[in-house]
Symmetry: C2
Subunit: 229 residues, 2 copies
């Protein structure tokens, strides 16, 4: 089982609080550490060397680029006028060149929503679609998993209160069983998200569908109270 | 022209910094102010009365619910076990009952990604699809606009550095002209996002497509530097 972690350029304000510890543990287990774009600089600031750095780096100053180059075992320079974003290129290198079995992605969410949606929608397109079940996007409040057609068992809520289930593409005969809110033979030609579903005690949730790409978003509320003044 | 503003339950950390001022000005012009879920409490904290409050309010304490009831001219209670989320119900009441021409939505992004995707995908489904060009999601770094098939002119970058363009559904013959990165007759059966496009000086960007729903995300970077220690 070849495991890898990727840090993209999204804002650190929505990273899991223990990301540094997660990455340090990953290093001890000799899991791979990848980064793209500003994520490469963030890694260096966290004191962690990258096995792979991907980016056009055009937003970095020359001294920042030198730091990235010194901190990374393998660097892939992407072209500024390009078909692939830095994160898409990272995903392709991870699955096609490094042939990782599992990729946990941080920094894919928050901040710029065009970046988030590129990351999300990349896995409904070829050639990355076939790898979608091996990738996971993780931030402070959410874990996003992807599913290919078939039957899937979601065993626990993984410490999150809710699970949003839906389809990123058209879908055929989507079923949700064992959850607080069940769904029977739902078909749609466009994306849909059913938010705030819940596990019933320790019972697993099962989903099944015939065509398309489904996602599960394990999620939780954060600050209940705000001081707006 | 009937204008309305809606505050949903998303985290205030990603609101535009001047949201309070925007809402105060809206009040002076007698634009309508709507809120759903925790957004109702946020409004009250901002010292602004709601013309409409929508929610099941099951996450509120009884004293919080009393505050919301006192602060709102029109309250619609949604059912906790429901087909529509609070925000979907707000959108329907806004367009169908209040017949607003333009709805600016805050608190639709950030935090829980199941909530964000429900808000985003609602406008590719009936019955709200036909109103998609009248709604706009706004946060600190992004404005999201929706488009029905046809030809559309995006006149300026609205003060944002980049514009992400894409399709939330399958799309046919999608074209982007006048932008830094052009696109010719792109068709896809699944969602796609082309991030980080740019306006060339004062030249407008034109998009055109035959089927589906397109989006534009006007967007900008935030903090370039981080102190992660």
């Amino acid at each position: 089982m070849k495991r890898a972690y990727a840090l993209l350029g999204g804002p650190h304000s929505v990273w899991p609080a223990d990301l540094k510890e997660q990455l340090k543990k990953a290093l001890q287990k000799q899991d791979l550490i990848f980064a793209s774009d500003r994520g490469c600089l963030y890694l260096q600031e966290l004191g962690i060397k990258a096995d792979l750095a991907v980016g056009d780096f055009d937003s970095l100053k020359s001294n920042e680029l030198k730091i990235v180059e010194k901190n990374s075992a393998d660097i892939r320079y992407s072209h500024p006028v390009k078909d692939l974003t830095d994160s898409e290129q990272l995903f392709r290198v991870a699955f096609e060149d490094y042939q990782v079995d599992q990729l946990k992605v941080f920094g894919a969410t928050g901040g710029r929503l065009d970046h988030f949606l590129v990351n999300l929608f990349t896995f409904v397109h070829e050639p990355l679609k076939r790898f979608c079940q091996q990738v996971e996007f993780i931030d402070q409040q959410n874990i996003i998993d992807f599913y290919l057609p078939g039957r899937h068992v979601l065993k626990t809520n993984r410490g999150y209160s809710y699970v949003g289930l839906g389809n990123l593409t058209g879908i055929k005969n989507f079923q949700i069983t064992g959850a607080r809110y069940e769904l029977k033979d739902y078909s749609s030609e466009v994306p849909t998200l059913f938010s705030s579903n819940e596990f019933i005690k320790d019972q697993p949730i099962q989903i099944a569908f015939e065509e398309g790409i489904a996602i599960a978003i394990f999620t939780k509320d954060k600050n209940r109270f705000a001081n707006l003044n």
